[in-house]
């Protein structure tokens, strides 16, 4: 397969510069990832998990890759400085070097800096790549090329009063560029905090982003993720998230695709000890010829864990929305309580929505529900709103906004919630 070979050739011919300045163990795993990619190849639509995302086609063609830091125009900040601690990544590279410590004691900054620091290198070495599945080709591809990213560490008992923002900004002037980044979040016992991850893009050139995020949530820790895909139509992202939860931990994820770019995102949670709780809310809005493919997998590996997921999507014009959900319940994960819901709105005759909820249960004392619906806007509600003076367009928009609100309301940060609502409204204007 030429594309895979191109990528591997590019890796081999730049191997020294890619790994420059990074620890030996970091680069050794890079070559493991390359071996894995070589073995598995890039997924095509023939593979179950990538049924609706042909990654091989996505990365086809000529792409530039830069292995030395470059200057990019700085984007406008998303949240005021006072409201968030921030890690800004430009095409996968941290804009500021080094690590910082928040007032509450959280450590945050560049993954590269953490991997190289005497203090945090052992932690990064221990946890990085420990949750991710290198058998997944895009995850291996990202790992093969990654040079930087974000690192967040919440020591035991730390309670954040404001969110930490990982602000990803992708920029290509004219040429097509491929870039990669990885994030590692470690929350020790009883830590609490919110992490917001945003993906934004600018420029005339096409961009393809490979992103992997790993999170290790210690026992009794409570971590809330908000992830926003606000990409231009010429920017595509393949984002794989892996979360490992310990006993009595709680992790919630809210993600929204309000941009126009191609999104393939997977959220994998492993509940490895008793009484862990996972909540996921996801929303995608697609118009034009856009594509959004969400994969959710929750693995119940210990008894008495609970998981809930709600995925809502709306597809208009010629767009394609896809959701695949998997709840896996291991043999000894008794008294599992798992709920998985997918609600979709088909807004045109030519749009397509695929929903594939799946359960795989090996324990006998469990409560698992799943459901998926694909419907249309409620004509009665539109008539009702028009009777009060709203135009048909306004009524349709308001109804979709209401549909989206179920997900959007789960963003913990008020300003971010408002920002997402505005992006949702703006997206609906474009749809």
């Amino acid at each position: 397969m030429p594309t895979k070979q191109n990528l591997l050739d590019n890796y081999l011919s730049n191997i020294d510069i890619i790994g420059e300045g990074l620890p030996v163990w970091f680069n050794a795993r890079r070559s493991d990832a390359a071996a894995s990619l070589n073995l598995h190849g890039l997924p095509t639509a023939k593979q179950e998990q990538y049924l609706h995302s042909d990654i091989a086609r996505l990365v086809e063609g000529e792409w530039e890759q830069y292995f030395v830091p470059r200057r990019h125009p700085a984007p406008a900040p998303l949240l005021p400085d006072a409201e968030a601690s921030r890690v800004e990544l430009m095409n996968g590279r941290a804009a500021k070097e080094g690590l910082r410590v928040s007032e509450e004691g959280a450590v945050y900054g560049s993954l590269r800096a953490a991997a190289c620091s005497a203090e945090y290198s052992p932690m990064v070495e221990k946890w990085l790549d420990s949750v991710a599945d290198m058998g997944d080709a895009p995850t291996a591809l990202t790992r093969m090329f990654v040079q930087d990213g974000a690192f967040i560490y919440l020591p035991a008992g730390v309670e954040m009063t404001s969110p930490i923002l990982i602000d990803n900004f992708y920029h290509a002037d004219t040429e097509a560029e491929m870039c990669f980044a990885q994030a590692l979040i470690v929350a020790d016992e009883g830590a609490r905090g919110e992490v917001i991850v945003t993906h934004r893009s600018e420029g005339e050139g096409r961009i393809m982003v490979g992103f992997t995020r790993e999170a290790v949530i210690g026992s009794k820790a409570d971590i809330r993720f908000t992830e926003l895909y606000d990409l231009q139509s010429n920017c595509s992202i393949v984002n794989n998230n892996y979360i490992k939860q310990m006993g009595e931990s709680h992790c919630s994820t809210m993600c929204c695709k309000t941009g126009d770019g191609y999104v393939r995102a997977a959220y994998n949670s492993a509940l490895t000890e008793r009484e862990a709780i996972s909540d996921v809310w996801a929303l995608y809005l697609c118009g034009g010829e856009e594509h959004c493919d969400l994969n959710l997998a929750v693995r119940h590996l210990a008894p008495d864990c609970r998981s809930y997921s709600l995925v809502k999507g709306a597809a208009a014009d010629m767009s394609v929305g896809s959701f695949a959900g998997m709840v896996y319940v291991a043999q000894d994960a008794q008294r599992t309580d798992a709920q998985q819901q997918s609600r979709n709105l088909l807004l045109s005759d030519t749009a397509r929505i695929y929903a594939q909820p799946q359960l795989e249960i090996y324990a006998d004392d469990v409560k698992c529900t799943h459901g998926a619906t694909v419907g249309q806007l409620d004509d009665e509600a539109i008539y009702y709103m028009r009777q009060r003076g709203l135009s048909e367009r306004q009524a349709r928009r308001l109804q979709i906004e209401g549909f989206a609100y179920d997900v959007v309301q789960h963003c913990g940060c008020e300003n971010m919630c408002r920002h997402i609502s505005e992006l949702t409204a703006a997206k609906l204007e474009r749809m």
Binding site: D378, E380, A381, Y383, Y384, M385, R386, Q387, R388, G389, L390, S391, E392, Q394, L398, Q399, E401, G402, F403, A404, Y405, D406
Partner: protein
Amino acid sequence: MHANVGGKEILRGINLEVRAGEVHAIMGPNGSGKSTLASVLAGNEKFEVTEGEVTFCGQNLLEMSIEERAREGLFLGFQYPVEIPGVTMSNFMKMAVNEQRKHRGLEPLTAGEFLKMMREKSAVVELSSKLTSRSVNEGFSGGEKKKNEIFQMAMLDPKLAILDETDSGLDIDALRIVATGVTKLHTAENATVVITHYQRLLDYIVPDYVHVLYKGRIIHSGDKSLALKLEAEGYDWLINDYQ
């Protein structure tokens, strides 16, 4: 005026004139076409007007879209108010009020003015202010839904309000509150058409005219005493006469 739904003629020649300051009650047995009349006037696209014309304040109503009719001052109180998940009452009303103001060449209300208006108008039907921050009609009781209709009527101040069985499903107290609310909103400049099965509503909303609709036609009109007679004797005497 004649109107069809799915090729079946439901309204078979309605003649009705409503002037400013008047209250009309429309009664009639089930299936006589009362709700259809309300829907046709509101512009519900399920119905097709096959003959006749409707003039509203000098304009051809049938040429207007649903929202144009609403912005010109026609209000329909729904028999079954629709639930709209995720859309808050206050957001919905703010858009509706401002659309109607825009149509009349007025500036949109400021947030403060709007809140004040919400408070004043929700008092008309004793609607809890908690409900206005919830999603439209979602989880509202039957009584709350109907109060909410009249609250919206108060917010939008229509020239013509058509209330389709606003009294159905209401307990005695809620009926009094809703009906008193409608009466409070009545002025010499506006008009109300109430569609009802029961005379009890008309104790509060005193009609100038009572019409009986049967098989898509108004077969009899009278003053408020007609409603009392219908309550006592039913429709048979009129239907027999008509046939």
